[in-house]
């Protein structure tokens, strides 16, 4: 079951350049929340702050508070490793491990966390691939084919399965379908629709129709600030802020 994410007064920098300004958001549990906005508005940066991937960039800095369930993400006693174990991430370009089989790709996170029991791995791999809607397509050559031998859409679903295998509570998706063809995209969207019953999903997208299709809540970012955060329906039919309206109606971005 997923948990909620609370963000308070989040500020982030790349060196001297500030990328996020006082962002505050309450991401509800077990729902999909979309993060939209024009290029460079900080939506990817925001999401990467949630699982402490932001700090892996040289000279990156951050201030503020992020809570995932009861865990203080930037608390003194919390390690980045702990956070990333509980938050899964799917990247824009599918990045399965090319030297590993499909099976090993999905099991990678588990093995890192010390699970080596064959039976446990088999079950979790199968379950994760089911959840990622990939099982039927790969079940015959799980260990024979490498992760990189699949098509683009399949690779992305493999990455989703890989992330799901460690049983995160929150799933972050950074434009997961932008590198895929329309059919794969719709499969991914269908997946998100089903996954949100079990997980809290935050999905970055530049595609407003996609946000409308899969997310119940949407946050609109502009130049590093969160302009508006509300139910998707409201954002797209009756936004409170003029800037949101301008973006929705395509006047810029």
């Amino acid at each position: 079951m997923g948990v909620g994410v609370q963000v308070e007064k989040l500020n982030a920098w790349f060196g001297a350049t500030q990328a996020l300004f006082d962002v505050a958001m309450d991401v509800p549990a077990n729902h999909a929340t979309a993060v939209i906005g024009p290029s460079g508005c900080g939506k990817s940066t925001f999401v990467r702050c949630l699982n402490r991937m932001h700090e892996t960039v040289r000279d990156a800095r951050l201030e503020g508070r992020v809570r995932i369930g009861s865990m203080e993400v930037y608390g003194d006693g919390t390690s980045a490793v702990e956070v990333r174990r509980r938050v899964g991430m799917v990247f824009q370009k599918p990045n399965p491990f090319p030297t590993m089989s499909i099976y090993d790709n999905v099991a990678a996170g588990l093995k890192l966390n010390g699970f080596h029991n064959r039976r446990v791995l088999d079950e979790v791999v199968e379950r994760s691939l089911h959840m990622a809607a990939l099982w039927d397509e790969v079940k015959d050559f799980l260990k024979k084919k490498s992760g990189a031998s699949l098509s683009g859409g399949q690779q992305q679903r493999l990455c989703i399965a890989r992330a799901l295998a460690v049983q995160p509570e929150v799933m972050l998706m950074d434009e997961p379908a932008s590198a895929l063809d329309p059919i794969s995209t719709s499969k991914i969207e269908e997946l998100i629709f089903q996954l949100k019953e079990q997980y809290t999903i935050v999905i970055v997208t530049h595609n407003m129709q996609q946000a409308a299709r899969v997310a119940e809540y949407t946050g609109f970012f502009l130049m590093g600030k969160l302009i508006e955060f509300d139910k998707t329906e409201k954002i797209f039919t009756n936004p409170s802020d003029k800037r949101t309206e301008d973006y929705i109606t395509g006047r810029f971005g």
Partner: protein, 321 residues
């Protein structure tokens, strides 16, 4: 020369194609020189060793007796010496090179990176004789006074560290070789590690990995073919290294199990005895050793080249020292 509105061509309309043809022909000639050199090497080596080839045939590489006086020549002790010294060098050099490469690409703060790579490049520039000089007067006494007795005390039960500690010998040769091949293995490993895309690292981190786990699963694993290629390239260099080894290996044609014992390598025997060779058969035997060395290094370097090329996609090589 008043302007008359007539365009003056830079090249006369009936420009001769000859200069271009001559030039490209000259360049082709230069390019072919590479192939010519290889052919020349093979031809001369075979030609000059024909006496020995004729006299001994394949026995040459299996014989253990090197007796110039009696005119009996067997190259096995040198093959053994070359292989063992190179192996010792690899065992020492691999963790050093991969370690320093991982350190520079994954762990090192940026300003330090340039310094360390400069220092590694400098290490590569030191000539073999200079290493040999240092090995004779610094390394060998160090081994003789401290390292070898220590090894004999704790590991003497393995037959690897038995016998009197001379300082010079197979171990010294292996160590100085290791120092010499570290820069090559390290620089290619560094290239290969940098070629691993950043997304692979991020994918592993996002699963909740520690930094070492990220390096292990996301970087080293992806780069392993290239690293193996780098190691084989280092091996190729170690096999052919002459001066430093000659100066500390002890120059005794024998096959001994202990690393403390003196030995002899293929390159060293040629270096030491070529100008002293009395008689055509003697010289021919030495050239035949050179032929063997050539063939071995060619095969090893070809293998390494293929492995490294498969990772770096055949990009032109940097001017590696």
């Amino acid at each position: 020369m008043a302007a008359t509105g007539v365009t003056i061509p830079l090249i006369p309309a009936k420009a001769s194609r000859v200069p271009d043809r001559v030039f490209s022909g000259a360049m082709l000639f230069c390019g072919l020189s590479l192939l010519t050199i290889v052919v020349l090497i093979v031809v001369e080596l075979v030609l000059q060793s024909r006496l020995s080839l004729h006299a001994f045939g394949w026995r040459f590489f299996k014989g253990t007796n090197w007796d110039p006086v009696a005119g009996d020549f067997g190259a096995l002790p040198f093959i053994y010496g070359t292989l063992v010294s190179s192996l010792v060098a690899l065992v020492i050099a691999i963790p050093l090179s991969v370690g320093v490469a991982v350190f520079t690409t994954e762990m090192c703060p940026k300003p330090l990176r340039g310094t360390i790579s400069f220092l590694t490049e400098l290490l590569a520039a030191i000539p073999s004789v200079v290493f040999g000089l240092w090995a004779i007067f610094v390394l060998a006494p160090l081994l003789r006074e401290y390292v070898q007795p220590w090894l004999a005390k704790y590991f003497g039960w393995t037959s690897l560290f038995s016998g009197p500690p001379f300082g010079i010998g197979m171990l010294a040769a292996g160590i100085i070789l290791a120092i010499m091949i570290v820069p090559i293995i390290a620089s290619i490993t560094r290239e290969v590690l940098t070629a691993v895309p950043q997304q692979q690292r991020e994918a592993v981190l996002a699963l909740g990995a520690t930094r070492w786990e990220m390096i292990r699963v996301g970087v080293l694993r992806n780069a392993r073919t290239g690293i193996v290629g780098a190691i084989i390239l280092g091996l190729g260099r170690a096999l052919g290294e002459t001066m430093a080894v000659t100066m500390v290996i002890g120059n005794t044609p024998q096959i001994a199990k202990s690393l403390f014992a003196p030995g002899y390598t293929m390159a060293s025997v040629i270096a030491n005895e070529f100008t002293e060779a009395t008689g055509d058969l003697y010289l021919s035997a030495l050239v035949e050793i050179g032929l063997g060395l050539f063939l071995v290094t060619i095969v090893v370097n070809m293998l390494a080249g293929l492995l490294v090329w498969s990772v770096t996609r055949g990009m032109p090589a940097r001017a590696r020292a």
